[in-house]
Amino acid sequence: MGILDFLKRKPEPTAVVAKERLRIIVAQERSTRGAPDYLPLLRNELLEVIKKYVNVDLDAININVERDSGHEVLELSVALPDGKPAGNAAT
């Protein structure tokens, strides 16, 4: 116990940490709920193809399946890094 202890920031209560972690993981799991089992594999194979042309990592690819009345939309977004082509990539 030091005399200046009151100046130190109190550690965040663990319940706050738990809530934040759960909010993120639950949101992530809900977004892939009911999605076809092949999605993770599809995501990895797409990544391999994209990597041939652009340097991206796994987090840069987002796959979403959305259901509208009667039809499904497979949404794929790739965040490309700024002007760092791996080979002779198209922009």
Partner: protein, 271 residues
Amino acid sequence: MSAEIIVVTSGKGGVGKTTTSASLATGLAMQGKKVAVIDFDVGLRNLDLIMGCERRVVYDFVNVIHGEASIKQALIKDKRYDNLAVLAASQTRDKDALTQEGVEKVLEDLSKDDFDYIVCDSPAGIEKGAHLAMYFADHAVVVVNPEVSSVRDSDRILGLLASKTRRAERGDGAVSQHLLLTRYNPARVEQGEMLSVKDVEDILGINVVGVIPESENVLAASNSGVPVIMDENSNAGQAYRDTVARILGETRPMRFLDAPKKGFFQRVFGG
């Protein structure tokens, strides 16, 4: 009039499913309803112990499904309420002993026998036993502890209830979902060491139907084979009574959400 089927489920083990099934079934019987409670945990029979009828099990759920006993022979009448009966799980290790057709037939027979409520005590996990326990449900009580793995698993279960049940498949309207928070410790919540009721409601996006405080009376009740709801002097017992009333449509305020205030002597002398 057919029976209302209520599944008590959670995903994670050890959160209080069987304790809740026993108290919910007994609570409904206390309200004059005719109730059967079924243990779906094939291979790990335990509801009989919590209900205090373990020495009277002659036939079990799988015997009935295999046609080795009638439902009437297998139902164990509760000694305290004669409008309450228990169907024990089998101790067989054969995981495929339960079939969808078999379960459906048992539920239909109970319904024809004028039961008002059938409480299905689900095993932990999301395997076949858990799937069959929830498949025919009209209502679900999802038991959750204020703890990260339990909250996450209960979200999976809420997703399964919305998609992998007969009601969902037929488009008969959703299974009504009731979230029950158990093992709640208000003192630890106030210290910031435990998720609060509001935290859990925010994360899962549904309101709780009841909050059962962590209580030594729960262990005492299971030790003696008396569902804790019968202990009217315990907070847990009273919280279960409130929960049953809410499930039956009554409005009751939540109790036992605040830590007991320390008295003068405790504040001065500690403890």
